[in-house]
């Protein structure tokens, strides 16, 4: 069970996933509670052209900078577009998502190694993670965790009751931008390892699975982190075992995500049992809304 991780590339892959677990667990709680799954999905796609431009300009080393710039730009654009209900959240997000993704595909299709490049951008290269990549991910993890701890209360208030948070003096627009940038940074941190498509699983599935077993946000973040760690370890082990012992080529990032989804499915019955045990809440007597006055 430990032996595969004595290989340096496996140890680096596991380290990268452990670092990502530290931020994906807590961030996924806000993505879940704010119902930002689609926005997160969009961010993973809108970063795609940045990834491609970064790659074309500086090879694999340029990928990080490209993703970072594209991530922050699209976080700002999505926040402005969806602010104040001027445009329907879903419609605006879908337009940005498809436009940016198409630009990315158009750019990458000009290269002769189109298929292999596209595959690595979409699904990542978990087993070729370099020490430099790990250092960059660690830096992003520190930034995201500090920003998350500082803003946790305000983000929680805004997520639960945007009107109440605004009335209490919090700037809801800035808080939305704050969270969108944090999600973008997580995507940037994870995109090289697990790809633009699979990173969305790390942002959505952990909290959704954790919600099956707990009603507490802090516990959800912790359970989400542990689930990613477990799926990371199990997925890498599964991928190693399949290819070494059985000659089956099983990509490591997709193994990790499949295990994460399997954990989600396994926890569904737990939620059903908890719901059944929860006592029925009696419906209070409603007051009449007739405008009645004493004459």
């Amino acid at each position: 069970m430990i032996e595969p991780f004595t290989a340096p590339f496996m140890a680096r892959a596991l380290t990268e996933l452990a670092l990502l677990a530290l931020i994906c667990g807590p961030i996924s709680v806000f993505v879940f509670a704010r119902r930002l799954s689609f926005v997160s999905d969009a961010l993973t796609h809108t970063i795609f052209p940045g990834v491609v431009i970064g790659f074309l300009a500086g090879g694999l080393e340029g990928l990080f900078a490209g993703a970072l710039v594209a991530g922050i730009v699209t976080a700002v654009v999505l926040t402005l577009l969806t602010r104040g209900g001027r445009v329907s959240d879903d419609a605006a997000t879908a337009v940005v998502l498809t436009a940016m993704f198409s630009i990315g595909v158009a750019m990458v299709s000009r290269r002769s190694s189109y298929t292999s490049d596209l595959t690595s951008f979409l699904f990542g290269r978990l087993l070729t993670v370099s020490p430099r990549q790990i250092a960059e991910t660690a830096a992003l993890v520190v930034i995201v965790l500090i920003a998350l701890v500082a803003g946790a209360r305000a983000l929680l208030f805004r997520t639960f009751d945007p009107g109440g948070a605004a009335a209490a003096g919090f700037r809801v627009g800035w808080l939305d931008l704050w969270l969108n940038i944090l999600v973008a940074l997580v995507v940037v941190a994870a995109v090289r390892a697990v790809g633009t498509i699979l990173v969305v699983a790390l942002l959505i599935v952990p909290a959704a699975a954790a919600r099956m077993v707990t009603d507490r946000l802090v516990v959800m973040a912790a359970v989400g982190t542990v689930l990613i760690l477990g799926a990371g370890y199990g997925g890498l082990l599964l991928s190693w075992t399949a290819s070494i012992h059985y000659g089956v080529s099983l990509t490591s990032a997709s193994s990790v995500v499949l295990l994460l989804v399997a954990a989600y499915c396994l926890l569904i019955p737990v939620r059903l049992i908890r719901d059944r045990r929860r006592r029925t809440v009696t419906v209070p007597r409603q007051r009449s809304s007739v405008h009645e006055l004493v004459g």
Binding site: G164, A165, G295
Partner: protein
């Protein structure tokens, strides 16, 4: 003593378009004003303007001695409970603690004073025993009391309540009324939007009848007249045998 609220010939609205005009109102500390009017009359817009969230387009307005935008965050606010997600994984204690977030700041953990304020606020609304429960598992009336406790925990001198008795059971209504009377007794000014004229009559020192504009304002007995109500609602009234009247909207 600085008035909690002064509105003089005020118009409020969105993007330069007035939603509510001719608002004249002065509220002293410890006084209660009831905002009465049909759906879409501008009650919520007026509350948002007091909170500094909707601009004052014309006239002169002060909230706790400042321009509403400058006073933002100093007035307490109790939203309608049905605007909140009942499935949200947050405890009653966490919701009430939100009322302390502005005082706590970004980095400091909640201190002894904050925890005491939360406990006292929950105690005042009669829900001390529910602190650890998930907010969404409470009844509508209890949730409304939790939101009131959240506002109390912020220790406001002016408190705004948006339809606080909508969908609230009798027990919770009594508890809320008792707390509101306590608050005015200790000098907190209240602004309550309501459909319920009986509530306005029982709780308020002043009633403000609005529907696109302010139609009448003053003490309940002088303001809640058949003529003023007809002008505000545009409907008619039916006299009942026991002397009460029912307003029929057009």
């Amino acid at each position: 003593m600085t008035p909690a609220l002064t509105y003089s010939a005020v118009s409020v609205g969105y993007q330069g378009t007035p939603v509510l005009t001719h608002v004249d109102l002065e509220l002293a500390p410890g006084q209660t004003v009831a905002l009465v009017g049909p759906n879409g009359a501008g009650k919520s817009t007026l509350i948002k303007s007091i909170l500094g969230l909707v601009p004052v387009l014309a006239g002169a307005a002060t909230v706790l001695g400042d321009h509403p935008a400058a006073a933002r965050g100093r007035a307490g606010y109790v939203p309608q409970t049905d605007t909140l997600d009942a499935d949200f994984p947050v405890s009653v204690r966490q919701v009430v603690m939100m009322g302390r977030y502005r005082r706590i700041g970004w980095w400091r953990p909640a201190g002894k004073d904050d925890r005491r304020a939360v406990s006292e606020a929950l105690d005042r609304v009669g829900l001390a025993g529910r602190a650890g429960h998930r907010f969404g598992t409470l009844s509508g009336g209890q949730r409304q009391r939790v939101l009131l406790a959240r506002a109390i925990a912020s220790e406001p001198r002016l408190l705004l309540l948006d339809e606080p008795f909508n969908g609230v059971d009798a027990v919770s209504q009594d508890a809320i009324v008792r707390v509101l009377r306590d608050l005015t007794g200790s000098g907190t000014a209240l602004v309550i939007s309501t459909h319920d004229l009986q509530v306005a009559r029982d709780l308020a020192d002043l009633v403000c009848l609005i529907n696109g504009r302010q139609w009448a304002a003053g003490p309940p007995a002088a303001t809640l007249t058949e003529q003023n109500l007809r002008r505000t609602y545009g409907g008619s009234t039916i006299s009942l045998a026991d002397g009460r009247m029912v307003l029929v909207e057009p």
